[in-house]
């Protein structure tokens, strides 16, 4: 009975997304690039219009009514984010421009906390945004970057992770879910083991947040980052969760207005959390719309979303594998609704181009995860990523389009 109540009415949900009605190259849009960005429901679009139509003002400083209304709405959004991630305090939620910005705040902040010879561990499944900032940190500090390798299924080699951990390990970084393959990483174990040697952990939740509601307190994670635009929110907004003591000990990332307590030419003292990390005027409208997007997704419910997306994943995997010569990369039992694949002897880019002609939007290329492509010795993959507003009928269209592309390109 519970199952029935939780079941998701996809046709009704699709009505919420105006973009799903449009055509591309004469065919109805089939949007399977959700791992890159999610589409935006009308309620979020309305919140953006409402902000600029009714109470656009700068926050945290004006005494006038509009400024107060905007400030209240922005701080309510922060509280929604806090509740969503189950952070202990709302000041542990830093609103940023996205997951990449969030990672850079931490990577830069650690510059003075690491010494030569310290070790940091990163997973082989990372997006470039969770590799490059740490390489830069290593260059600045003389710390050493170690990598947890992956196996053929696209899973992290936890046995090697155990060997890499030692008393020199200061930080561990991994994504919760791989953007290129969809693998769900065992972050509970990763965090527990890192803490056992005294290392702190940053989890990149950019890919997991559309599918899983993380509980940062239960995870006991030190830092967790995400982007609003993958959660039905606007682009240009993200979140950095950090434990209060960590955020207090890291220096500010940027100087400017909003992040100060007292300024004289002799010395400036910084504002407390969260403002210390929010220099300048933030994306006020985007932050507010992010809160609305979280409400929207929570109303549908993450359990219902996960159940439905798993159904799409199983259906899509079975249907695509019927195509001769098609190979799927990332075959872990523990994965989300991402299918990365190639067709024998055909370049992924050619397939992506033909699919676009038929209205099917997929991502092709290395997905900002070149080390994974190097592992499989391929130039890239075709990636179809499903969201809760997609349907099995759309997967049928994808399969038909892939067959046609294969015919044209063989």
């Amino acid at each position: 009975m519970q199952k029935e109540i939780d079941m998701l009415d996809v046709q009704k949900i699709r009505e919420d997304f105006p973009i799903l009605k449009r055509k591309v190259n004469g065919s109805p849009l089939v949007y399977f690039d959700n791992a890159a960005t999610s589409q935006t429901p009308q309620i979020v679009i309305d919140a953006i219009v409402e902000y600029y139509s009714n109470y656009n003002a700068n926050i945290h400083r004006g005494v006038h009514t509009l400024s107060q209304e905007a400030t209240d709405a922005y701080e309510i959004a922060r509280k929604k984010v806090q509740q969503h991630f189950n952070a202990k305090y709302s000041h542990e939620i830093i609103l940023t421009s996205g997951a990449t910005h969030s990672i850079n705040i931490v990577a830069t902040g650690f510059s003075n906390l690491l010494s030569k010879g310290d070790e940091i561990i990163v997973s082989a499944l990372e997006h470039h945004s969770n590799i490059v900032p740490w390489q830069m940190l290593c260059e600045r500090t003389g710390a050493i970057l170690k990598v947890i390798p992956m196996n053929e299924e696209g899973e992290l080699r936890m046995d090697i992770y155990d060997q890499l951990l030692c008393d020199k390990t200061k930080l561990v970084f991994t994504n919760h879910i791989s953007n290129a393959l969809g693998t769900i990483n065992p972050i509970e174990k990763i965090i527990e083991k890192a803490h056992a040697v005294g290392a702190s952990v940053l989890i990149d939740g950019a890919q997991s947040c559309p599918h899983i509601k993380p509980d940062v307190q239960a995870l006991d994670v030190d830092f967790y980052v995400a982007s609003a635009h993958k959660l039905c929110g606007p682009t240009g907004v993200g979140v950095l969760y950090g434990k209060e003591n960590w955020l207090n000990s890291l220096p500010p990332y940027q100087g400017g207005g909003e992040m100060i307590d007292q300024v004289t030419f002799e010395k400036t003292t910084y504002a407390g959390l969260p403002h210390k990390f929010e220099a300048g005027t933030p994306d006020i409208c985007g932050g507010i719309a992010f809160g609305v997007a979280l409400d929207y997704m929570n109303t549908i419910g993450f359990d219902a979303i996960a159940d439905y997306e798993n159904e799409l994943l199983d259906y899509g995997t079975a249907k695509l594998l019927e195509i001769e010569g098609l190979k799927i990369y990332g075959t872990s039992k523990n994965k989300t609704s991402v299918i990365s694949f190639n067709i024998e002897n055909i370049h992924p880019y050619d397939v992506g181009t033909i699919l676009d002609k038929m209205g099917v939007a997929v991502r092709t290329g290395h997905h900002c995860a070149q080390p994974i492509m190097d592992f499989y010795q391929i130039p890239g993959t075709i990636r179809a990523s499903f969201s809760f507003y997609n349907t099995k009928e759309e997967i049928d269209i994808l399969v038909k389009a892939v067959k046609k592309a294969k015919m044209m390109l063989s």
Binding site: N25, I346, Y349, T353, K357, P379, M408, L409
Partner: protein, 140 residues
Amino acid sequence: MTIQEIQEEIVDEFSMFDDWMQRYEYMIELGKSLPLIDEKHKIDENIIKGCQSKVWVHAVMDNDKIEFTADSDAIITKGIIAILIRVFSGQHPKAIIDADTNFIDKIGLKEHLSPTRANGLVSMIKQLKMYAIAYQTQLN
């Protein structure tokens, strides 16, 4: 034939097609007729940046005319570079430098290709013209 005449010929050919499928099938065919680059020139220095697929181009000058050869790991990209080479190969460097490439709009390539691919197209034209500039300097 001049660059202008070859471009007009290509525009004529593409105007016969009714839909995108025929257009792409023709480009794939053209890709198969591409004058292939010698394997020894398929080196990193000859890769054109800005393309999602790999494109190698090589040029030699013979009797004041440039001959291009190329290859790509993607067949549609091969078709595009084949069209460009048909336009520019066998021409004087000065003619290549001065040529406009409006015909790309007319055959619907720019309009129909994705932005990253379009960038690749721009990079390819730029690279062919760079060769022409280099050889023109030699002639001077």
